[in-house]
Every structure is written in C-alpha cells, then in structure tokens.
C-alpha cells in the first residue's frame, strides 16, 4: 500500500465505511503499526476540525442570508441610523477626538499650506497610463458621421441618445444600495452622456454628481427609472490602508463582460511615491479603470486607476479612504446627506467563487461619449 491508499483507508475507517472484515484487518494493522495508529489519531482530529469549520462556515452564510432576507421583507428593523440617533451616536463616539483635532487642524493647515507652496514638484505623469479605453478614433468619426446622417434624416426622432458613439469605457461600482457609484474621474470627465451597464447587459443612464480630478475619484448616480435599488451591498469600503503582500482581486470590464483578476498589494504608495494611491500587482487592461480592488475579506481597498507604461503588471489604485472623503464632500449637498457606506463586508469568510458571485452584480461598465 502506498501513502495515498493508506490515507484513503484511514479516512474510510474514521467515517465507518469499512465492512467488518476490512475493519478487523485494519484494526490489526493499527495495533502492529504505530505509524498508522498515529495517522488515525491525527487525522481524526483534523477531520473533526475540518467538519466543524465547514459547518460553521455554512451557518455563518445562512445567518447572513437570513439577515438580508428579513431586512428586505421588513421583519427586522435594521435600518441605518438616521437623524437624531445618528448625531447622538457620532457625538458620543467622537467628542474628545473632535476637540483635539480642531486645535491641531488649525496649526497644521497653516504649516502645510506654506510647505506645499514651497516644495510642490512639477507633475510628471507621462509614464503612467490611465486605463480608460478609448474606442478607436477612426471608428468614432465614421459613427459620428453616421449619426449625423441619421439625425438629419429623422429630425423628429426622439432617440438620439442611443445613437451617440461611445468614446470612453471604464468600470464603476456601487457604494450605496440606491445607485451611487464610484469610478475614476478620468473615465467620465470628458463625457456628456454617461451610461452604466451591468453584467447582464442592462443599460442605465447615469449622471456625475461629484468630480475630483486631483484625486481621480468621481461619484456618479444611476438616474434611470428602470434601475431597481438593491437591499444592501455585499461588500464594505475599507477606511484604513492595507498591508503590503495582502492578496487582492479585481473585477472590471476590459471587454464586454466582467473579468476577474488576482494579485497582491505591492506598495503602499503609488507612482513616484504618490500617497493618494497604492501599488498593486495584477493584470489590468484599458477598461479596468474605476474598477474596485478587493482584499480577501471582500472589502474594497482601492479604485484601480492606472498602470505604468514601461513595466508589466505595475498597477496603481486610489486608496479607498478617499472614497469616504469624496462622499463627505458630496454630503454637503442636502440631497445626499443621508448616504451611508458600510465598512463591513458580508462576504468575508466565503470562498472566492462565492464572493465574486455575490459581488459581480454591483460592478458596472461605465460608458461615456
């Protein structure tokens, strides 16, 4: 018997799948051969742990499903904190910090602003390529001509939107269940009309609600009656920065369907020590811009934004904390002041396949013209 067969026998013995003869033979073997005996003991413990782990995982995912289910049907009141309760909560939590922070902030702001004006280096970005996909210019021009012709033909036709050619493609992902999305500023900044398309091919109209070109973050909102709001998001947005060597994965639309990529966080800063972003090693192509970067818990740790042109799989991502900043700015607009993002991911602990299955409906292709 070789090792593989011995292990198989041990497993069958532990599970009680042996017939009486086999069992007798095996028990004799166990008595005479201490190595086999040792293996049985060790493997019993291992299988026990494994089984319990499996059941625990199943139970946790069941709990999560139940929670989503009950929230959807309104049987439990897991509404987000609103109005007064939230203010009280935040005040209780942060009152000491607020006081100290206010004093420090004043001094720091003055110092930093003077330093920045003195030391600000000239921007040098030629070696970094933004991963927005520009659809072939020639193609565009022919299409534009086409459009002009058709438009001239049917001046009264009220559907010019669908005929506009797409010039930029990128990726975006939801940050709240009601249709607010994050993408890169460079994906949408030159576009007049924006559409987002999910993995099922359904297309919705979207509008830019906040554009921050310096940080390369844009918030867009799906503004379409056909869009059905989600009950909640399966992933959270990480508030703190991540550790080097953490495994990560990305989802994006470099082609017409969603594409998965896997890699790791390679540096905490981006191109030339840029502290806004971080560096990841993953395969990325034009069209991946604006896509989410997840860690193994399924938390968003960044927004994939650019890659270095003369190095393979050196990709940069805007750190996720700037999503919070962008949202804070947006909240000054009263329309959005109740928007809340979660830092907790409900898919943590699931297998990668399950995570992606649950996440992919929340990642969209962003198209602009």
């Amino acid at each position: 018997m070789n090792d593989v067969q011995i292990l198989e026998a041990v497993e069958r013995y532990i599970r009680g799948e042996m017939n009486p003869d086999e069992r007798l033979y095996f028990e004799n073997l166990r008595k005479t051969n201490t190595e086999v005996d040792q293996l049985v003991v060790e493997h019993t413990l291992f299988l026990q742990q494994m089984n319990r782990f499996g059941e625990w995982q199943k139970f946790r995912s069941n709990l999560h499903d139940v929670h989503t289910n009950l929230t959807e049907t309104g049987k439990i009141n897991s509404a987000k904190l609103t109005g007064k309760a939230k203010v009280v909560y935040l005040w209780n939590r942060y009152k000491r910090v607020t006081a100290i922070a206010a004093t420090i902030a004043g001094v720091t702001a003055l110092t930093v602003s003077s330093l920045v004006t003195t030391f600000n280096p000239a921007p040098e970005n030629a070696k970094v390529k933004e991963l927005v996909k520009k659809v072939n210019d020639l193609d565009t021009k022919t299409k534009q001509l086409d459009t002009k012709i058709t438009n001239a033909d049917k001046k009264n036709n009220k559907k010019p939107i669908m005929a506009t050619p797409v010039r930029y493609n990128g990726t975006g992902f939801l940050i709240d269940a009601k249709g607010l999305m994050i993408t890169n500023a460079h994906v949408v900044k030159n576009s007049r009309n924006i559409f987002v398309q999910n993995n099922k091919g359904e297309q919705f109209k979207a509008i830019v609600v906040r554009l921050d070109v310096a940080r390369d973050v844009a918030i867009i909102k799906i503004d379409d009656d056909n869009f059905k709001q989600f009950p909640s998001l399966p992933y959270g947005i990480r508030k703190t920065s991540s550790e080097i060597a953490e495994p990560i994965f990305t989802l994006g639309f470099p082609k017409n369907e969603i594409v998965y990529g896997e890699g790791y966080l390679s540096a905490k800063t981006g191109y030339n020590g840029d502290t806004l972003s971080c560096q990841i090693a993953v395969a990325a192509n034009p069209g991946n811009s604006g896509g989410p970067v997840f860690n193994h818990n399924g938390e968003v740790i960044g927004i994939l934004s650019a890659k270095e042109t003369d190095a393979e799989s050196t990709v940069f991502a805007v750190q996720s904390k700037y999503i919070y900043q962008a949202l804070e700015e947006l909240k000054k607009n009263s329309l959005y002041q109740h928007t809340k993002m979660s830092a907790k991911s409900s898919v943590s602990g699931l297998s990668k396949v399950q995570q992606v299955k649950k996440i992919q409906d929340y990642v969209f292709m962003v198209k602009g013209d």
């Binding site: 291992f46 069941n62 009141n77 897991s78």
Partner: protein, 191 residues
C-alpha cells in the same frame, strides 16, 4: 409549558442549521439587541456583527449537546450579546459607561471564552486553506466541505480519472495538514 416545548423545537432546528428556525430566532431577538448596541455607542453594523456572533455561540452550545434550557433563548442571546459588546468596547477603548439593564442576565463567561477559542481555531483553518492557493483550495473544499465524491470532482476539475484527482488531493492535503498543525501546535494563528 407550551412555550418551553416551542423553544426546545427551535433549538433543535438551530442545531441542524434549518433556515426556518434560524429565521424565527433572528426575527424575535434582533431588534432588542440592535437597540442595546445602538444605545451604547454602537452602530447598526456593530449590532449585526454582535448579534450574529451571539447566534454562533448559541448554535455551538446547542450542538455540543450540553445546553439545558434553564433560561429563555431571549435571555441567553441578550446576555451573550451584552458581554460580547462590552468586550468589544473595551478593546476599542470606547468604554464609557457600563451597559445598563443588569436584571435577567445569565452568566455566559465560559461560553464566550470557548467561543473565542473556537474562533481562533477556525481562523487558523481559514488562513491555512486560503494560503494553499488554487487548485488545492477548491479541490479540498469540494471533497471535505461540500463532501462531493471523487469521480464527480475529477470530472469538474478536469482530471482524466479519479485516481489522478486522488493523488492531487493527497498532495494538497499533506500541505494543508502541515500548515494547520504547525499553527495548531503553537496554539496561535499568528504567522
């Protein structure tokens, strides 16, 4: 008396991870735990977290077979959640005032300790499995967690026959056990 029988049935359902039982316990207890957490410096997300932890404690307890219903499910879940939340607050240094409403609590210290130990072990297993990489991870999960048979696995992972799959599984398993036991003997999940 009737209520007691009901609760017994619920717990048995819970031990088998039956969605209906889980849902009933969830529905009847969630709101009060959420109120507890939110009134004590927590958010809705914290509430969900703590409540689910408490559900796991209850689940492990009924599964261990030693659970005697000497109090209502409600009291038990409340006691566990309260204790877990106090611990969490202390860890975060957000501990301000003691969580009130002390009456009707049952002692749960031992369970929570056992629960933390188990969490540590599961975390260890989780890390060990994740560090294997593919195809080992999926292969072992398919066999040991989803309990699929070898023929089926060989077909879906593209092995020419079950023996090839078995050999591959054996190699993966040896790696997993090595990683797992090295952590297990150290008694910690640190790398």
């Amino acid at each position: 008396m009737k209520q007691e029988i009901n609760e017994q049935a619920l717990l048995q359902g819970l031990a088998r991870n039956e969605t209906k039982a889980v849902e009933t316990i969830y529905r009847e207890n969630y709101n009060s735990i959420q109120a507890l957490i939110i009134n004590n410096n927590g958010s809705a997300d914290d509430a969900k977290d703590i409540f689910q932890e408490a559900m796991i404690v209850l689940y492990e307890k009924v599964r261990s077979g030693t659970f005697e219903l000497n109090c209502q499910i409600k009291t038990y879940v409340y006691s566990v959640s309260r204790r877990l939340w106090l611990k969490r607050l202390q860890q975060l240094n957000r501990y301000s005032a003691p969580v009130e409403n002390l009456e009707g609590l049952v002692p749960v210290e031992d369970e929570i300790e056992a629960h933390e130990q188990r969490n540590l072990e599961f975390d260890m297993m989780n890390k060990a499995i994740s560090s294997l990489g593919e195809p080992c991870k999926s292969l072992l999960e398919a066999y040991y967690l989803q309990k699929r048979n070898m023929q089926d696995i060989a077909a879906s992972f593209g092995y020419t026959n079950a023996d090839n799959a078995k050999n591959q599984k054996y190699k993966c398993l040896m790696r997993l056990k090595k990683i797992f036991f090295s952590h297990y003997k150290n008694g910690t999940s640190d790398e």
